[in-house]
């Protein structure tokens, strides 16, 4: 058995039904190693986000095999999928923070998914994480009062606070200016390295390619390039 974090074999995915059915992913085979930053690239509609959401258990696998940390997720029940999702961290294109919760409370949601736990320990872990992403001074701010970069950093803190084994990021820099974008990705990379986290990121932002350990290029639902740096 391979030690890869993610193994994909013969993965097909379709959107729509009947006549309108359109294949988005074609016979995809892929292995992603642990502890590395892998970037998925490609033009719009190439299927990279679909692959990411399939691997992140946000979409039901239709055909083929997808193993996360050694477990098959094709055919997993809703309860099992919920269990898998708890082991993963997901950073979205939009920060997707809860507008009614403060920075601290948003990050706490990343911990409480594992159960109520000890409130004091959770708060300490949350504050530590927010300090790491440079928001020690903004712990009690509501997202509405923070800048785009700050919000995305909270989202990173929320995804990483429970020490997930795999982190998925869907164009995390899309809504950010160059400097904040670079900061967020550099932070992700550094945190991944120190925690031995596997990071898979979708982007078409050329500025951040230099930080990648591996770049996979997709087109029309197929892998057309695979470079290890």
């Amino acid at each position: 058995m391979s030690n890869a974090a993610i193994q994909v074999q013969g993965l097909n995915h379709y959107f729509g039904q009947g006549e309108a059915c359109k294949q988005a992913i074609w016979e995809l085979n892929l292995e992603i190693e642990r502890g590395k930053l892998t970037i998925l690239m490609g033009p719009s509609g190439s299927g990279k986000t679909t692959v990411l959401t399939l691997m992140g258990c946000l979409r039901e696998v239709q055909e083929g095999s997808l193993r996360l940390l050694g477990s098959e997720i094709n055919g997993a029940s809703e309860t099992q999928l919920t269990g898998f999702r708890r082991k993963l961290g997901f950073i979205f294109q939009a920060h997707n923070l809860h507008e009614s919760l403060t920075a601290t409370q948003n990050v706490q949601m990343g911990l409480q998914v594992h159960g109520p736990g000890n409130a004091a320990t959770q708060l300490a872990a949350t504050q530590h994480m927010l300090a790491i992403v440079g928001l020690a001074d903004h712990m009690d701010y509501l997202p509405g009062n923070l800048s785009g970069g700050q919000k995305q950093r909270i989202a990173v803190a929320r995804a990483l606070v429970s020490n997930p084994e795999i982190v998925f990021a869907d164009e995390p820099t899309a809504a950010l200016d160059k400097e904040s974008g670079m900061n967020v990705v550099a932070m992700l990379k550094a945190l991944g390295k120190s925690r031995q986290t596997t990071t898979v990121m979708v982007t078409h932002d050329n500025r951040i390619l230099e930080l990648a350990d591996r770049i996979i290029t997709m087109e029309d639902g197929r892998i057309v390039g695979d470079t290890k740096l």
Binding site: L58, E78, T79, L88, Q112
Partner: protein, 391 residues
Amino acid sequence: MNKLLTRIFGRLPIGWLQLIHSKTRFIAAIAGVSFATLLVFMQLGILGALNNSVIAPYEFFEADILISAEDANTITDGSNVARARLFQSLSVPGVVDGAALYIGNMEFKLADGTSSTLQTFGIDTSKGDFLSPNIGQQLRLLRDENTALIDTAIRGVAPSVFEGLATGKPFSFEISDKTLTAVGVLELGGSFFTDGTLFVSDQTFLRFFGNRSSGAPNHILINVDDGISVDVVAARLRDALPASLVKVQTLAAATTADQTYQTTERPTGIIFGFGVLIGVIVGIVIVYQVLSTDVADHLHEYATFKAMGYGQSFFLGIVFEEAIVLAVFGFIPGLIVSLGLYIGMSAATGLPIEMDPQRIIMVFIGTLVACIISGAIATLRLVGADPADLF
């Protein structure tokens, strides 16, 4: 509040935080629930007033059994009962005493031109045992010809008109060109059918209602021996009297039957019953609308939570939390406004519109259940949806 809720739920009180995040929307949602509550309270209040006003006249009497004409559904309608039935009844074992009761409506006019309809009860002045203590004690005052006990709460008549009575100064007025003198008081007020009540002796009654005969009262009241069951005597009376002409009911059963008849067979009762039903339906629709809009507005955030690994029970928890907050916060102003409107409506109509604790509890539980069910339905769209499809 946050700390308290966090302790209760073992998690952040997201529902609560979500609701209070936008104050205007929170107030609008509460106003919606309050209005639903108010609607139900008003309809129940009117229906309750009908029930109360049907029961009220029965409460003047403390008889065990009421003998009425076979076709009588309420205290006033139906044929008369032959007084001979009273004498027949007295020979039935277990019957201690009986009294004939005459009922009619009189037009009461004041010098300023106001006119009210008074439900008038005529009874033998020696039969105080058949009446509630307050009336029973005053009955002997009616032995003088053309005297009456008058209702001090007649609809449309200021209570100050009867103030003199309390100091022993009789109050005389004209009815049907005859003078009637009030020598005592009672307090009932208006119902859906009449504006007030008058008690007179049977002799006075027959003098004022020239077309009525002493041989044909409206009802016969019966009291039974202490040692014997009322139901047993009622059964004996039924055997002794012709079932085709009279019906024998305990006073309690007659009250209930009248109430049932008024609320389920008379148009007024049916209309108010429909009012309650529609109030409840509109209330449920408002609550559902409030909660499902809230779920729709936060679908993004819920999808994110789902992607993070939160399960359906978590979302149900949030929505239930919101449902309970809305139910509690919406119920209180709804109740307060209803109480105010009850007082206003009661003053304007003279009807006995009152809040009773049972109704408060019932409506609160109803509000809570409606909120929770609406919340559960509103979260259904999250079940089984792929988080990726929700963004």
